[in-house]
Symmetry: C2
Subunit: 403 residues, 2 copies
């Protein structure tokens, strides 16, 4: 039975049009890396590029690099490279700061945009199942803007929104379960109530088509160190739809977002466009590592990534079903493709020790307490053989523990 | 006359106990770098350290580095390395985010601390001469917390503060003029009014003793890419005095500041100590470059740095006076040591073209529009010979333009 699955994996890998991309990544340690939804693997060409930024751009050109090496314009330039991966036309995405900081900008900005349309919207609806930082920051945004925070599961959002709703913060893919939410449908429901939709794309950007422009999303934030492989703590991105940019009023109006930053005038005047979302001096080393890392996307269609992602997670679920002793794990990631992101989460009673043993055997996923084994599938570098091997090693670990 | 100054420079360099530190920096391009108050020079050992972070910590250990390479604890660990340079005991400084974002945390935090003491303090006083981002962010903090912003020059602060003042945001050294403000005296005046003092140390950290603990400063922020040589856009730092930490209520309560971040609970519970100032995932590449860069401070006393800084700026002012045609430039940096930071600013009618020509001749300072030539003196790597040469080249440039 096991040989059968290995043959299938080999056949699927042989037909995989993205298979050659794996060579672009540093993955020659013989293990299986299924934690790219937490920290993407290193593209092989990035170390040389970072070395050049450090030794030549900083070390030799020093201050001149703000112009000559394009440091100053990096946030919007890199934003424009991410834009097509999330379905955004140029000029709407800017890179910088952490995801949490960008959630704050986006949510306060959304509330203020709602104010422009009318004064009576005093509620912020937030995905109650969301990654915690979104909820914490939403609470702070609500407190500082005098709004009431209304938690709602994504399935309840259509009922929770109404004439009092200013903005709704939603996660595209649930970090724990891997459930993909209906971005077009929920955005439409939010708009039907006259509110703004703010999406967190941390677990979808680079993993599947998002279609920000096509679906009329208002604002969005996302992470670049997961499926975009930008490196540990690489700066996040902020999307402000073009139609909202003139009214976008950032709660963090740092000098980098000023219309004429080097005039250094005491009065603030916001720049036009996406760079209104900038704040302070960008963290150039982290940012230019990200820029380099984005080269792996050259010529890659996000639809092909999505197709492989679904094939990988389908296959992994099948391998788990076939290999793993009955009842030891329960998939919590939905089976329907329309509801699945690019990870598989398995509930497992003794998840902490199981994940520790998996990692010791070279299969790297991660744990979400108390009982979730989480496996991320990054289509650019994960193979079907990886998926089969991960399920097999998981079965071994669980059999030993069961036995 | 010129030879006399060159001899003096040689003699001062020969006696300089910090002279050997210059060898720690990549400065072998034959120029004079007087822009370390904008971007500190590269310490020679940093490229290898960054290469290790990228290739081994990210590329090989990947996700394991959050524990094994100490990524997770970097913000507070690096904070503790900066602490002694600004006169803070351990556990009060955390690194991360930009200066602008930290000004926001500190100022909103200060207003909320003031609220704990009593409800009637509805004003934020801000240095009207400050670096613009501080003013812009202070305005946002005031707006979001329902306070009135009161601009005041540092000399007017003692009169501007009163029973309605919640917090005062001040710059330790003016970025444009290089004027050093009286941190102990102004802090005492702010405290006498029952308000909190928030200091921006961007142009003093690493250049002179600050004495945060000794002078009872409440909160402070600072930059690490100027005199601390952390690299372009290296993360800023936030100081929260130990006595205020339990009451510090961040407006950016990201998951990194949670008491148990990996529990990922929907309710926010702030961590103890300085790490309450953390927000989202730290930008590890920029952050660990900074950590490496701080090695140049091993065994360096900040008092020795200050003594050399004053000797350098004294000598540069003398050289300018002797070399430069009368009336062509006017120093705006105060002569008294107690009022001088670690830069010399010269007003010059045609400053833009003069700075351009200086840079073309290898003397790198910078311009602050419309008419300020700004020269920063970083005692760890600037020599007295540099100071003399810069003044001489400036004289040449101005003579040509005058003639």
């Amino acid at each position: 039975m096991s040989d059968d699955l290995r043959d299938r994996a080999a056949s699927l890998d042989a037909q995989d049009e993205l298979a050659a991309h794996r060579e672009l990544f540093a993955l020659d340690d013989g293990g299986v890396y299924l934690d790219g939804n937490s920290l993407g693997a290193l593209p092989r060409h990035v170390p040389d590029r970072v070395a050049d930024v450090v030794a030549r751009q900083w070390g030799e050109l020093r201050i001149r690099s703000w112009d000559e090496s394009g440091w100053w314009t990096a946030p919007e330039r890199i934003g424009d490279r991410i834009a097509p991966l999330v379905g955004a036309a140029p000029g709407q995405v800017v890179v910088g700061d952490s995801t949490s900081v960008n959630v704050f900008k986006a949510l306060v900005g959304a509330v203020r945009l709602a104010d422009l349309a009318g004064p009576d919207r005093d509620e912020i609806v937030v995905d109650a199942t969301t990654f915690p930082t979104d909820g914490y920051i939403a609470e702070s945004a609500a407190r500082l803007t005098g709004r009431r925070l209304v938690p709602a599961a994504p399935g309840e959002v259509a009922d929770a929104v109404g004439p009092r709703t200013a903005a709704v913060l939603l996660n595209h893919v649930d970090y724990r379960s891997g459930r993909l939410h209906d971005l077009p449908g929920l955005t439409a429901a939010v708009h039907a109530a006259g509110a703004l939709a703010v999406w967190d794309l941390c677990h979808s950007a680079g993993a599947l088509p998002v279609g920000l422009d096509a679906h009329g999303v208002d604002l969005a934030v996302g992470c670049t160190y997961k499926y975009l492989n930008g490196g540990p703590g690489a700066p996040a991105f902020l999307y402000v739809a073009e139609r909202h940019q003139a009214g976008f009023d950032s709660p963090l109006p740092g000098w980098n977002s000023h219309a004429d930053p080097f005039a250094m005038t005491p009065g603030y005047a916001a720049a036009d466009g996406a760079l209104r979302g900038r704040v302070g001096t960008p963290d150039i080393l982290s940012m230019l590592a990200l820029e380099a890392a984005l080269d792996v996307w050259d010529g890659v269609a996000i639809d092909a990534v999505r197709a492989k992602s679904l094939a990988l997670t389908d296959f992994f679920l099948e391998c788990v079903e076939r290999h793993v002793p009955g009842g030891r794990v329960t998939p919590v990631t939905p089976r329907p493709h329309a509801e699945r992101g690019s990870q598989v989460s398995l509930r497992c009673e003794d998840a902490p020790v199981v994940m520790k043993e998996l990692i010791a055997r070279g299969v790297v996923g991660d744990l979400r307490r108390p009982d979730i084994l989480r496996f991320g599938f990054t289509p650019l570098y994960v193979s079907f053989a990886d998926a089969e091997r991960a399920a097999r090693v998981l079965a071994d670990v669980l059999s030993v523990r069961t036995g």
